[in-house]
């Protein structure tokens, strides 16, 4: 208990330092030095100082190693890497740099759901004419689809987020529960655990809209229809029956006290995961890396986690969905797009970096060189106590993933969703009302932004 508290305190401190780092580091990484050793704001040291330098932003846990590998092997270009913050922290800075017209890096790591947001502002470069054919075969069709808008390609796929159900083996054994295969079984198991005086079965959080969206898509929702050939027209359907059903389902679980309602990615939630406050964690393939980074799976709770496929609505027609997953994009502020594209293609593509990424389960690679590697497929993941998680769960989920159409106003949509899910958790709206309100809010915003909404 004491040690866990220390871990949690450490997590808070880490958050604090991250915050101060963000506020002081500001746009520091923005120096777009493409020639010589002018890049002074790099987190890494550049070994070959006489080569041209490409700047990049990214936040993978093992980025340092990947950048070092790349710089060591490359005789043509060097990478100056800065971590300007995770997720929206980075996007906010990029957004500011776009508006200012200066200050963006040459290459940037972005989650695939944000690509249309930046593409519509002409902030990203179509990398198709910059050596695309040479690497085309390294990624699946689906992976390319997620980084494409229309016929143009706006990023090199790096990691994916096939979803699954992580669970506590010790709790499942204690309460005699087998991993649920459907959402109906999930609810029954949750009820069983609660009746026996057990902890929350999972967590329904307001601050993870991307997760909620993925779960709605699993039930059959298609939030956006968007054809970039007709930029000014967009289909917004956030309150179809599937979306409502999923919100009703999770709102119901929360109301019955079967799942917690704690915001995720917070020290509070992590300490809950550490202390066995949640029996399952519905999340993506990157979750183990995130959890170990936050101190989970060490010490007392070592070997207590296992993973099972994501529960289904209709087991006869299983649907696999994605949460997160990211790509390296070349920004339109890159001084030398050709060189920047080389970096985007080359980073996280060498064997050593890929292997480090997947052996530590930090990233789920989309590079087929790794995905088809028997070593990767058969890996006994330490976090899951030696379970062959890739073979049993993640690879099949990734292979069955169909891809999604994202909107060019992802941030607004996620904020609107957070607001309504928060109200749903409080009990001031029903799931169906929440979906209607999100629809109304986002459709209004889309119209304000000049779109014709269908």
């Amino acid at each position: 208990m004491n040690k866990n508290r220390l871990l949690a305190a450490a997590a808070v401190l880490a958050a604090a330092t991250a915050l101060t780092a963000c506020s002081s580091g500001g746009g520091g990484g923005g120096a777009t030095a493409t020639s010589g050793s002018g890049a002074s704001n790099c987190t890494n040291t550049i070994p070959k100082k006489d080569l041209p330098v490409v700047t990049m932003w990214g936040w993978y846990p093992n980025m340092q190693l990947v950048v070092d590998n790349f710089n060591k092997q490359n005789a043509e270009v060097q990478v100056c890497w800065t971590n300007v913050g995770q997720g929206s922290d980075e996007y906010d800075k990029f957004q500011t740099a776009i508006s200012a017209g200066t200050g963006a890096p040459d290459v940037i790591m972005i989650e695939m759901d944000r690509i249309p947001t930046f593409q519509i502002q002409n902030a990203l470069v179509d990398i198709k004419q910059h050596g695309f054919d040479a690497v085309k075969a390294d990624y699946s069709e689906g992976a390319w689809k997620d980084v494409s808008v229309g016929g143009a390609v706006y990023g090199v796929p790096v990691d994916g987020g096939p979803m699954a159900m992580i669970y506590r083996k010790d709790l499942f054994e204690k309460y005699d529960i087998t991993p649920p295969k459907t959402w109906a079984e999930y609810e029954q198991a949750a009820q069983k655990m609660k009746d026996a005086g057990g902890p929350a079965f999972g967590d329904f959080a307001a601050n993870v809209s991307a997760l909620t969206m993925a779960l709605q898509i699993q039930k059959g929702a298609a939030p956006f229809t968007y054809d970039p050939a007709q930029r000014s027209s967009i289909g917004v359907k956030l309150n179809d029956q599937a979306s409502k059903d999923v919100l009703e389902y999770w709102g119901g679980l929360a109301k019955k006290g079967l799942v917690g309602t704690q915001d995720q990615f917070t020290p509070e939630y992590i300490s809950g995961v550490i202390n066995g406050k949640y029996a399952t964690y519905i999340s993506a393939a990157w979750a183990p890396g995130y959890l170990t980074g936050a101190g989970v799976g060490k010490g007392e709770d070592i070997g207590k986690f296992a993973v099972a496929p994501l529960p289904q609505w209709d087991p006869a027609n299983p649907v696999q969905v994605n949460w997160g997953g990211s790509a390296f994009s070349v920004t339109s502020q890159a001084k030398n797009p050709e060189l920047a594209a080389k970096v985007a293609y080359g980073l996280y593509a060498d064997k050593e970096s890929l292997t480090h990424g997947w052996t530590n389960q930090i990233i789920f690679p989309l590079n087929l060189k790794a995905l088809n590697d028997p070593e990767f497929v058969n890996l006994k993941v330490a976090f899951f106590d030696g379970q062959q998680a890739n073979k049993e769960v993640y690879v099949p989920a990734a292979n069955a993933y169909q891809g999604v159409t994202y909107s060019p106003f992802g941030q607004y949509y996620f904020d609107a969703m957070t607001k309504q899910v928060s109200a749903l958790i409080e009990g001031s709206v029903t799931g169906a009302q929440a979906a209607d309100l999100v629809q109304e809010d986002v459709a209004k915003y889309a119209k304000e932004q000049g779109f014709t909404v269908q």
């Binding site: 949690a8 915050l19 506020s23 906010d92 957004q95 601050n207 930029r231 915001d263 106003f409 941030q411």
Partner: protein
């Protein structure tokens, strides 16, 4: 003699004029650096933001001049209005609380002179020396229901701790953080004002038969009224611009604290997350308007007291 005197008197204006001119030049020379910084870092950004706020940028269709449309939108925007209403309510609760605590502590520390008083003064002031960001992160930790000290305290009695990061208590959670942060600072200002009072007044009051309470209420407080007014205005402006603490706590309680929690946060969200610098600027100016009206109204109602200033 007379002629000489007239002569010199005639001379004087010209020399004086030269001196005055030189004084002017010297004056501008001294004021110049400040003037340049003032224009470049205060007036120019304000003017630019005002200019931006008159335009509208859409994802489809680009930027167009809309004159005051953004302001019309702001004052009918539920997000802006609810945020503004929140900071107004917050001011009504937290400012009196901070001032009462600061005043009480200042009066106590002024009345007792011991080593302990000096130590207390330093300790009460200490929270102000801690950066707001660190303070907010620290309180986020203290409020935590699973690993903060609250959970220990409440589990002693077998109770569950209150959720200060939940939607029903976040208001009081923030009131507490702000009071903790600022009361000590205000206390120092009031204490300094108290130190400036002539002790002879106290002696005269005592000779007239006034007790300690009467001295405090009838002499000390009226005499430091200007300082009280000053900190009231400071805290009113500060609270209406509320940003740091909720923004930091957002990473711990995003569901409770939305991006439009306070007008300043909403402006930040519009500008930096949604790339809508135009509307963000308009919100900032609209907030500036509310602050101006609030402070003006406050000074208007306390105008009698202002004779002390």
């Amino acid at each position: 003699m007379i002629e000489k005197g007239a002569q010199s008197a005639r001379d004087k204006p010209t020399t004086r004029g030269k001196v005055r001119l030189r004084e002017h030049v010297m004056g501008w020379f001294f004021v110049g650096p400040f003037g340049i910084v003032f224009l470049a870092l205060l007036i120019a950004p304000l003017a630019y933001a005002l200019y931006l706020s008159l335009f509208q940028k859409k994802l489809i269709g680009g930027t167009s001049f809309v004159f005051l449309d953004n302001y019309v939108k702001a004052f009918t925007d539920p997000s802006f209005l609810s945020g503004s209403w929140f900071v107004i309510r917050f001011s009504l609760v937290s400012i009196p609380l901070q001032i009462i605590i600061a005043l009480a502590m200042a009066l106590i520390l002024d009345a007792v002179t011991s080593l302990f008083a000096r130590f207390s003064r330093l300790m009460i002031f200490l929270p102000y020396a801690i950066p707001t960001v660190i303070g907010a992160v620290m309180w986020g930790f203290l409020y935590s229901r699973s690993f903060g000290p609250l959970s220990d305290l409440f589990s002693l009695f077998g109770a569950t701790p209150p959720d200060f990061l939940g939607s029903s208590l976040i208001f009081y959670g923030l009131v507490n953080i702000v009071t903790w942060q600022w009361a000590g600072y205000y206390m120092i200002i009031l204490y300094a004002a108290l130190q400036g009072i002539d002790p002879a007044l106290y002696e005269a009051a005592r000779m007239d038969g006034a007790g300690k309470w009467q001295i405090a209420l009838r002499i000390k407080i009226p005499l430091i009224a200007p300082a009280l007014l000053l900190i009231l205005v400071f805290s009113l402006i500060g609270t209406l611009q509320f940003f740091n603490e909720p923004q930091i706590l957002r990473s711990l309680a995003a569901g409770t604290i939305g991006p439009d929690f306070t007008p300043n946060m909403y402006a930040y969200q519009q500008a930096f997350a949604l790339a809508n610098f135009n509307y963000g600027s308009a919100i900032s100016f609209a907030l500036g308007g509310i602050v101006f009206v609030g402070v003006y109204a406050f000074l208007f109602f306390t105008r009698k007291r202002r004779s002390f200033l």
